[in-house]
Each structure stands twice: as C-alpha cells, then as structure tokens.
C-alpha cells in the first residue's frame, strides 16, 4: 500500500513537470528529421514503423534517462530526505515507488510521441499498418531499454553528481548503441544493448540494422533473451539500490 502511495505521488509530480513534456516534444521533433526528407514509397508498413522506432530510439532514451536522473539529487537539494525518513515506509520502498512512478510518467508522453509520429506517417502514406506495427515495436523493443536506462539513471545519481552522470550516460548511449562495431570496440550488437535491435530483428523479423553482416541472423529466442536480460539486470540493480538505501538509512 505504501508503495502504491509513493508511486502515485512520484507519478503525479513527474507528470506535472512542464520540462518533461517540453524536452520530449523537442527531441521528438529533432528525431523526425529523416522523415522530413521523405521516405521511399516502396517501403512496407513494418519497415516504416521500424524506421520510426530506430530513429526515435536513437535520441529519445537520452532525454528519458536525463529526465529521471535528477529525481534523487532533487530530494537531496531540497532536503526532503530527512522528512521522508520520518515516514513509516522504508527507504527501499520509496526508491521503488520513485522509479516506477517517475518512469511511468515519463514513458507516457514518450510512448505517445512515438505513436503520434507513426500515426502522421500512416495518414501521409495511407497505410494504417504502420500504426499497428508501431505498438508491438514500442512494447518489445523500446520499453525494455527504457527500464534498463531508467534504472541506472535513477541509481547512479545516488553516487555521482548529475552533470557528470549526464556526460557518462550520453557518451555511453552513443558509443554502446549507435556507433558501429566496425569503427570502434563497443558493446553494441550484444543482447544487452538497450536500443533494442535484438528484440526488433529477432522477434519482429525486421531486416537490416546496425549489426547486419556483423553477427549471424538473430533468432526469436535471442530476441526474448535480450528483453529478459535488460529487465533482469535492471531488477537486480534496483534490488541492490533497495538494500543500499535501507542500509544507509539504518546507518544514519
């Protein structure tokens, strides 16, 4: 019950931040740059939806992560930690509530923008299947990456100053997800890549991508494994964060 209360409070707090909506809309507009240049007419609905997901997912998770990374520093800056510690809920419960509430509130406009861009393209091209394909792409390839990115964005700022975390996270995102392994040693093209290529190519069978020709064709099982790994690693990190928060509260 306490968890639901914290979750609800954090959700409302994040939803009412104008900056969440403004930043996400600006980044979505920037991500739409390739579509302004026009898309080839011969592309199928699935290929267009995959294109929308690929280009938007290259930039939007950066905004998602950064918008979550200031939640714990905010509590420290406003000195609300001491007040919250006097409540019956444990620090670990508050951490879970903060993550689930703030992540859900940021994911809401985030997902809506993907669907709006896909919807505009569906109307332009007279192909409703673009919107129909966008939904599974969003659930299977985008959301597991957001859980992964959101977890570390929330937890790492417990120890790092938020500008330093921002630099590390943006650098990691570009190096570990966007740059081809042909150019630089990178963890891209592994199941633990949050941009979601494994799930997209493995489960939904979209062609091409950054890893095309570099690794053998991805199987559906590898796609599901990638989703499980991303969510599993995030859950382990959250559990570690929960124990750390409880321990620190007991120590202080």
């Amino acid at each position: 019950m306490t968890l639901v209360g914290v979750l609800r409070y954090e959700f409302l707090m994040q939803t009412r931040r104008p900056v969440v909506w403004l930043v996400l809309v600006l980044v979505a507009l920037l991500s739409s740059f390739p579509f302004l240049q026009g898309l080839p007419t011969e592309l199928t609905g699935l290929e267009v939806a995959a294109g929308v997901t690929y280009f938007m997912n290259t930039f939007m998770p950066i905004a998602f992560g950064i918008l979550l990374s200031d939640r714990l520093p905010r509590d420290r800056r406003l000195n609300t930690n001491e007040l919250l510690a006097s409540f019956p809920s444990s620090a670990g419960t508050r951490l879970w509530g903060k993550f689930l509430g703030a992540a859900a509130a940021t994911a809401l406009p985030f997902s809506a923008l993907y669907l709006i861009v896909a919807g505009i393209l569906a109307i332009q091209r007279g192909d409703a299947s673009i919107l129909a394909f966008e939904l599974p792409l969003l659930i299977l390839t985008v959301l597991p990456g957001l859980i992964f990115v959101g977890t570390f964005s929330l937890l790492c700022t417990e120890m790092l100053p938020d500008p330093l975390y921002a630099v590390l996270f943006i650098g990691y995102w570009f190096w570990g997800n966007v740059v081809s392994p042909r150019r630089i040693p990178t963890p891209a093209c592994t199941p633990l890549t949050p941009i979601g290529g494994f799930a997209e190519h493995g489960i939904l069978g979209t062609p091409g991508g950054l890893c095309s020709g570099l690794i053998p064709p991805i199987t559906p099982a590898q796609g599901w494994l990638s989703i499980a790994l991303l969510i599993g690693v995030a859950a382990i990190a959250m559990l570690a964060g929960q124990f750390y928060s409880n321990w620190r509260t007991e120590e202080s």
Binding site: R17, R183, I184
Partner: protein, 227 residues
C-alpha cells in the same frame, strides 16, 4: 580581492568538472588501445581524433550547469558581486579547463600526426573550440530558459548525438552546413570550414548574450527549478 574570488570559484566548481575532460580522453585512449589489440589498428587515429568531438559535450554540460545553479542563490543575490558575474566566472573556469585539456590534446595529436583532419597549428584549435562554445551556450540557454538542469543536459546531449549521427547529411546540405558542429576540414573547399567555424562562434555569442540577460533577472532566478 578579485584574484581571491577566482580562487574561491576554482575550488567550488567540483571534482566532476575537473575529472570529466581527462576521463573522456582516457576512455578514448583505452578504446584506441583496445581497437589496436583487436586488430582494428586502422581505426586508432580516428578514435583518438574523435576525442575532440567528445570534449565539447563534456565542457559544455559542465559550464552550463555551473552557470545556472547555486545552492545559496538568495545569499548570492545580496552580495556586492552580482550573481551574473559569479556564474560567468565559474563557467569561464570550467570552459578554460576543458579548453586547456583540448588544446594540449590537439597539439599532441597534430605533433604525432594522429589528427585525421589537420588544418594548421592555430586553426586546429577551432575544431573543438567552436562546438565547445556552442554546447555551453545551448546548455545555458535551456537550463535558464526552462529553469531545469535536466533540460540543458538532455537537449545538449541529444544535439551532440544528432550532430554526430547525421554529420555527413548535415555537412552536405547547404542549409545546415553553417551550423554543422562537427564539419570536417576539406582543403579543396577550405572557405566552407572557416565560414562554418565563424558562424558557430557567432551563434555561441548570441546564445551567451541571451543567457547573460537571464542571469541578470533576479525574479526569474528566484523562481527556482522547474520541478
């Protein structure tokens, strides 16, 4: 007295701002070494040179954050030295440190002939200087304009990835060429690069002018962070 204030701000800018530029160079150095070990030796110079693309992001976010926030803002606004002067002093220190690291790094890359887009010893410094000033300006404007550090860092980060991801396309489109932050020098059309660097410096001046204007607005500053 003035020197004491500079010294005080030097201590206040935080270990993150000191370590980040060195960390970025060290990380790219480690990746270049790893590439060599993995048989990707032909990419080594490219990886090392791209350190000059990373430093503007690092310095830009550090400077923009220092420019727009202070835990004792109400106190700062009562002091004889205006908060605008103090904030600019901090940002200047963060930019100067990143600039110093970038300058030494560029000289070393050029001297060892590892810089893959050499211009001339002086003009080489514009490879990182123009984007550094632009990122600091973008970060400051979004930090102060939206009254949220997350907005400045987030938008700066997205623009950095966007500019690198679409670098080729932006460089080849006449409309976007002057504001392409990572335009590479081409000796056959040298003037394009010079015009681009000048345009970026002019854009940075405009962004800083707006940020400086907002820094003088006490009422706006006192509204605090937007959430």
């Amino acid at each position: 007295m003035n020197l004491e204030l500079w010294r005080l701000e030097l201590r206040r800018i935080g270990w993150g701002a000191w370590l980040a530029p060195l960390g970025a160079i060290a990380a790219l150095g480690a990746l270049a070494f790893l590439a060599n070990v993995m048989g990707m030796g032909s990419q080594t110079d490219s990886i090392l040179s791209e350190g000059l693309d990373a430093l503007p992001l690092v310095g830009g976010i550090a400077a923009a954050t220092l420019l727009a926030s202070d835990p004792a803002l109400e106190l700062q606004l009562t002091l004889p030295t205006s908060f605008r002067t103090t904030a600019l002093r901090r940002a200047a220190l963060a930019l100067a440190w990143t600039g110093l690291v970038a300058l030494v790094y560029t000289v070393l890359l050029a001297a060892t002939q590892r810089l893959i887009w050499p211009v001339s010893p002086i003009a080489n410094q514009l490879i990182w200087l123009a984007p550094l000033l632009c990122f600091a300006g973008i970060g400051a404007v979004f930090n102060l304009g939206m009254r949220a550090a997350a907005a400045g860092s987030g938008i700066t980060g997205v623009i950095w990835v966007f500019q690198l991801f679409f670098r080729r396309s932006l460089s080849e489109t006449p409309a976007t060429q002057p504001i392409t932050l990572f335009l590479r020098f081409d000796p056959t059309v040298a003037s394009v690069w010079i015009v681009n660097r000048m345009a970026l410096c002019a854009l940075a001046i405009l962004l800083f002018a707006l940020a400086i204007q907002w820094l003088g607005d006490a009422e706006r500053l006192l509204k605090g962070e937007n959430g």
